[in-house]
């Protein structure tokens, strides 16, 4: 069983940062909903508020990790220029997708959308974490502020969902691969 360095980094970007981020949204949305609807939910204890503070910071960190690893590690491999004379498109995912009308929209729509909309998530979640840290329990007295925090968390979730879904589907159609071979277990043939 082996993989390549680029495949490993792509997995770190998509499954490590991106996958964990999408999972983290479920917890963040549920806890923020508790704050947004105090009349229908049990109130957060001081310990839960401290936990949520750390949780929201971790969510923002995951979002930054996802976009930065995507833009500066994986994306350069994805959009690598095809050297003259090279006809094997295996190491050039963008060229590979654009070579056929059956797959070109994965780049023209999917990647073009994903590469921009994904950045909404870290910006929004940084703001949400800041607001939660700054206002603490005062959020329950400040409905417009908590509504904004919840709406931006939903928007960040949608943005991360779009980016994650297209990322997975694009990588299925034209995987980022290459670089040093990494043996995980077993014999290398």
């Amino acid at each position: 069983m082996q993989t390549t360095f680029r495949e490993l980094m792509t997995a770190l970007h998509g499954m490590g940062f991106g996958g964990l981020l999408l999972l983290a949204f479920s917890g963040a949305l549920i806890e923020l909903h508790r704050i947004c609807a105090p009349e229908r939910s049990s109130p957060l204890s001081a310990w839960e508020r401290r936990f949520l503070r750390r949780y929201l910071i971790a969510t923002a960190v995951l979002a930054w990790g996802a976009v930065l690893s995507g833009a500066y590690i994986v994306y350069p491999w994805y959009r690598a220029r095809l050297p003259q004379g090279v006809v094997d498109l295996a190491g050039y995912p963008q060229r590979s997708l654009l070579a056929s009308t059956a797959t070109s929209e994965w780049h023209n729509l999917g990647m073009e959308w994903k590469e921009h909309v994904a950045w909404f998530a870290p910006i929004a979640m940084t703001m949400v974490a800041y607001v939660f840290i700054k206002y603490r329990s005062d959020l329950t007295r400040n409905r417009p502020v908590r509504s904004a925090a919840f709406a931006f968390t939903v928007a960040a979730f949608v943005a991360a969902g779009i980016a994650g879904t297209f990322g997975a589907l694009i990588n299925k159609n034209a995987p980022v691969q290459g670089g040093a071979l990494i043996k995980i277990m077993g014999e290398t043939k």
């Binding site: 950045w119 607001v131 400040n142 417009p144």
Partner: protein, 124 residues
């Protein structure tokens, strides 16, 4: 009927007791975040429409114009956050209007990030 639930009365939880915090800091954070998201889409659209702008945004060659689009949008977000925080920090503002402006920017940003909308605006 007891209307004072612990969350509604911070003193009851022993955490964050005190006067209400003015909403200016939140307003600054919300509006600047929306502006940052909007700028990601607008700069991306401009880079797509004008090759000269795409070249300007090419801060890091392996990543291409995306590097400049996002770096500049982040700079706009952080600088606007700093300025608005200093201006609004200790004030209480009509948060409903600020939220409305932020949601419009966020929705426009989301719409403009969708490539068919960008293509339509460019007449492609």
């Amino acid at each position: 009927m007891n209307s004072h639930r612990p969350e509604e009365n911070p003193a009851a939880t022993g955490d964050d007791a005190g006067a209400e915090i003015p909403n200016g800091a939140a307003a600054a954070a919300v509006l600047s975040a929306a502006a940052g998201c909007f700028c990601v889409s607008v700069f991306g659209l401009l880079g797509d429409a004008f090759p000269a702008i795409a070249r300007f945004f090419n801060f890091y060659n392996p990543t291409g114009p995306l590097s400049g689009v996002t770096t500049t949008a982040i700079a706009v977000w952080l600088v606007s956050w700093l300025i608005l925080s200093r201006t609004w920090g200790g004030k209480s503002l009509p948060m409903g209007k600020i939220n409305a402006a932020a949601f419009v920017l966020l929705a426009l940003g989301l719409a403009l990030s969708f490539p068919p909308v960008g293509d339509l605006l460019q007449g492609k």
